[in-house]
Symmetry: C2
Subunit: 108 residues, 2 copies
């Protein structure tokens, strides 16, 4: 059994050279929003949900991105409503949000 039921990592990497990167696509805001929603829903902690910052996840072409483990579900998102849906559907009820899935061939 996994220490966290769902462990979500947000890429917060910043590329100062103008290349695609999550930091310039609202990643910090999405992270903060997710962290606060998970806490408000009482999901945080061992056996529950952990929301983490991460460095570059190397799938920059889909920025901003996040990954949920242990299931290995990758997301791309636009606004706080997308994050709300990931929290409510996936992190709370275990149902991935199909419309926000990152395509399998998206890389750097």
């Amino acid at each position: 059994m996994s220490y966290y039921r769902h462990h979500i990592f947000f890429c917060l990497n910043d590329r100062p050279n103008g290349e695609a990167c999550c930091a310039r696509q609202g990643a910090q805001q999405a992270f903060d929003h997710c962290k606060s929603r998970v806490k408000a829903e009482g999901l945080a902690g061992p056996g529950g949900v952990r929301v983490n910052k991460a460095g570059c996840l190397d799938r920059c072409a889909g920025a901003p991105v996040a990954v949920v483990y242990p299931e290995g579900t990758w997301y791309t998102f636009v606004d706080p409503a997308d994050i709300d849906e990931i929290v409510e559907s996936h992190l709370k009820q275990g149902q991935p949000v199909e419309r926000l899935l990152l395509a399998a061939d998206v890389g750097r």
Copy 2:
């Protein structure tokens, strides 16, 4: 199938108030060493291994810690030789390193 066969996250969090934290237990050095070993072994990339920085993983009492997904294997380590063993045994051959496993009850 997972985008990365093994995705390892190192906590690099720094707590300036003197509490236990990974940054003050050699985490950055371990991360750098792991990243460089994985690259040297030709393991890096989609379908292979990804070595990532992460914020606080909230298991600070076992600092420094790292977690490998999708299998959800947690490690604590001391020196570069420990990292070499994780790379060779777990990341290359898929065999977890029993002696470095973080005890299940270790939390913040």
